[in-house]
Symmetry: C2
Subunit: 336 residues, 2 copies
C-alpha cells in the first residue's frame, strides 16, 4: 500500500520511507585528507567514520558509498541513478577541480540537498572560527586582510564564503605563489577565483602576501609556514593551520612568531576547526525541513550560529567542542 | 593507517571495513511483487523491509538502493561504480528479460557475490519445498512432471534449478500458452528455456499441460488456475500457487480439486514458500566465507539443506518457518 502510494506520489517518499533520515556519503577516494588519491578502498574507512559521526551526533542514517570511477561525468550519472532513496548527498574527498562541476551538476539535477563537505563544511567552520578570532583580536571581520595557503576545493569554498560574508581582501596561493589574474597557468576554478579575490593585485610568494595580513588560513600541506613568516603579519596575527594531520605550522612555532590566536584541525591542540561541527547539523536541518539546497544564506547563518555558541571567545577558545550538544541543533536551526 | 593499507591491498577491505558485512539491496522498481513496474519510489519500502529481514535474521547490514533508471546497461554501470564498499549485491524486483543480462554482466565484472533474489532465492526455496512435497506424495522427485505457470525471471530460474537437480519433464507457460521451440513470439530468454524444457513437445493451454502432471508451480498471477484444472493432474497433485498476495488458486479450491499438497507465498496458509528462508543465509554464508559467486552447486546444496530441516514432512508442513533459527546457519553452511 505504501509502495503504490509512493509510486504515484514520489515526493511523499520523504515522509513515508527511510529517505527521510538517510544520507549517502560518497567518495571516489581521489583526495582523502592527508593521504591524497588513494582510491575507493582506501576511502572506505574514512567514510565509515563519517557515517558514524552522522549517526552519533545527528541521528542520521548515513551510508558510505565508494566509487569505482574518478571520471566526473560518470560520477554524476552514478549518483543521479542511486539518489531516489536518499534524503541527502554528502560528497567527500573528491579532488578539485572535478569536485566543482560534480557538485554543481548534482545540485541542478536532484531535488535533495547535495553538499561537498570538504568545500562547504570547511568554509562554514572556518568562517565561524574567524568570526570569534576577530572578536578576540579586536579587529572588524570585514576589514580583515586574509591570506589563504591552498587553492583547492576547501580554499576556494572558504574564499567564496568569506566574500559572501562581506570580506574583500582575500588572497589565495597555490604552489606557484599568489593567485592573480595575470597568471597563465590557472585552471578554470582558479581563474574564476583570481577575478574575485586579491584586490590589491599582489604577486609573489607567501612571504610577500603575508606582509601586513591579519589572518593566515592554511588549507594546503604540512610545514609551508615558518615562525618568521608569522612575524611579517599585522599586529595580533590570527593563524589557522588546518592541514591534517600535520599543520602548515605547529602552534608552538606560530606563537613563537607572534601569533595571537592559533587554530588547527587537530584535537590535541586548542581551537580544533573540525567539519564535524558542521555537516551533522546542516543535514539534520535540511532533512527535517525538506530543504532542497544548502544556500549561501544558510551557510552564513550556520557559521554565525556556530560562532554564537561561544559566548566569550578567548585566544584558546574560539569554537565549540564537537561533543557540545548544542552544536547540531544550532546549525540545524540555521538551515533554511 | 587502515586507509593507506586498503589503498595498497584492496582485497583486505573485506577484513578491515564494513564491506565484510554489508549487502546492497538494489532495485529499479520495474517488477515489484504484486505491483509491477512502480518505479524507484514505490520499490523503496519493499527494499527497506528486505534490509530489515537481512539484519534481523542474518545480522547483515543491508542498504536499500533504488535506481532512477531502468536501462540495463546503465544499471550495470551504476552498480559496478558503487560496488567497492559492498560485500554482496542483492538484485531485487528487476523485470525480465533485462534482469538476466544485468545479473550475468555483474557476476562477470565484480568479485563479490551478486544474486537476483527473485530468480535464485525463489528457485532455491521452491526446490526445497518440492523435495519434501514429493516425499509426502511418495513419488520420485526426478521423475516428476512439472508445469510452471509463468515464464518470467522466477519461473525461468526455477526451471533451470529443477533441471540442475536432475528433473527432466518441466513445462513452462506464458500468457500465450505452453512454451515450445516452434513458437515465433519468444524473447531470447524464453527461446533458451524452450530448448531445454518441454521434452514431450507439448503445445496448447494450461489445461493441456496439466493432464497427467505431478506438480503445478504458479509464478504468474492471481486466479489463473481453477479447481477443475487440478483434477486434470496425476494422482496426489502437488500445487504451489506462489503468486502474491493473490495466489493462482486459493488453497481451499486446490484441495477441492484434489490437490494433496498445497503451498502458497502467504503466511496465513500452511506451507509458506518465502524467499526470506533463503537470501539471509545465502549472503551470510557468502560473506563469511568470501565466496565470490553463488554457484549452481551452492544453490542445490542450499535447497537440500533447507528441505532437510523438516524431519518428517507432511502435507501441511513441507518447509520450515521463517522464524526457525536453524534456517540461516543451515543455508550458510551450504554455500561454498
Amino acid at each position: 500500500v505504501v509502495s503504490e502510494h509512493l509510486a504515484k506520489h514520489p515526493t511523499d517518499a520523504r515522509a513515508y520511507s527511510t529517505k527521510r533520515n538517510s544520507v549517502a556519503v560518497i567518495s571516489d577516494g581521489s583526495a582523502v585528507l592527508g593521504l591524497g588519491n588513494i582510491g575507493p578502498y582506501g576511502a572506505l574507512p574514512v567514510l565509515e567514520g563519517k557515517a558514524l559521526i552522522f549517526k552519533e551526533l545527528a541521528g542520521i542514517d548515513a551510508w558510505p558509498i565508494v566509487l569505482d570511477t574518478q571520471d566526473p561525468d560518470e560520477i554524476v550519472r552514478t549518483i543521479i541513478n542511486i539518489a531516489p532513496g536518499f534524503g541527502g548527498i554528502n560528497l567527500e574527498d573528491i579532488k578539485a577541480p572535478g569536485c566543482f562541476a560534480i557538485e554543481e551538476q548534482l545540485i541542478k539535477a536532484l531535488n535533495i540537498p547535495v553538499m561537498h563537505d570538504d568545500q562547504h563544511g570547511t568554509a562554514i567552520v572556518v568562517l565561524a572560527a574567524l568570526i570569534n578570532a576577530m572578536k578576540v583580536v579586536g579587529k572588524p571581520l570585514k576589514k580583515a586582510k586574509v591570506v589563504i595557503a591552498g587553492a583547492g576545493a576547501a580554499a576556494i569554498a572558504v574564499s567564496k564564503l568569506l566574500l559572501a560574508e562581506g570580506l574583500s581582501d582575500v588572497v589565495l596561493l597555490d604552489r606557484a605563489g599568489v593567485i592573480h589574474t595575470k597568471r597563465k597557468d590557472l585552471n578554470a576554478a582558479k581563474k574564476e577565483i583570481a577575478k574575485i579575490t586579491n584586490p590589491r593585485r599582489l604577486q609573489g610568494s607567501l612571504e610577500d602576501a603575508l606582509i601586513g595580513a591579519d589572518v593566515f588560513i592554511g588549507l594546503s600541506g604540512p610545514g609551508v609556514m615558518r615562525a618568521s613568516d608569522v612575524s611579517l603579519m599585522s599586529e595580533k596575527p590570527v593563524v589557522f593551520a588546518l592541514s591534517n594531520p600535520t599543520p602548515e605550522i605547529l602552534p608552538e612555532e606560530a606563537l613563537e612568531g607572534g601569533a595571537y590566536v592559533v587554530a588547527t584541525g587537530r584535537s590535541d591542540f586548542p581551537n580544533q576547526v573540525n567539519n564535524a561541527l558542521v555537516f551533522p547539523g546542516v543535514f539534520r536541518g535540511a532533512l527535517d525541513k525538506g530543504v532542497r539546497e544548502i544556500t549561501e544564506v544558510s551557510k552564513l547563518r550556520a557559521a554565525h550560529a556556530l560562532a554564537g555558541l561561544v559566548l566569550n571567545p578567548t585566544a584558546r577558545r574560539i569554537i565549540p567542542d564537537v561533543t557540545d550538544k548544542k552544536v547540531v541543533p544550532a546549525i540545524a536551526r540555521a538551515i533554511r
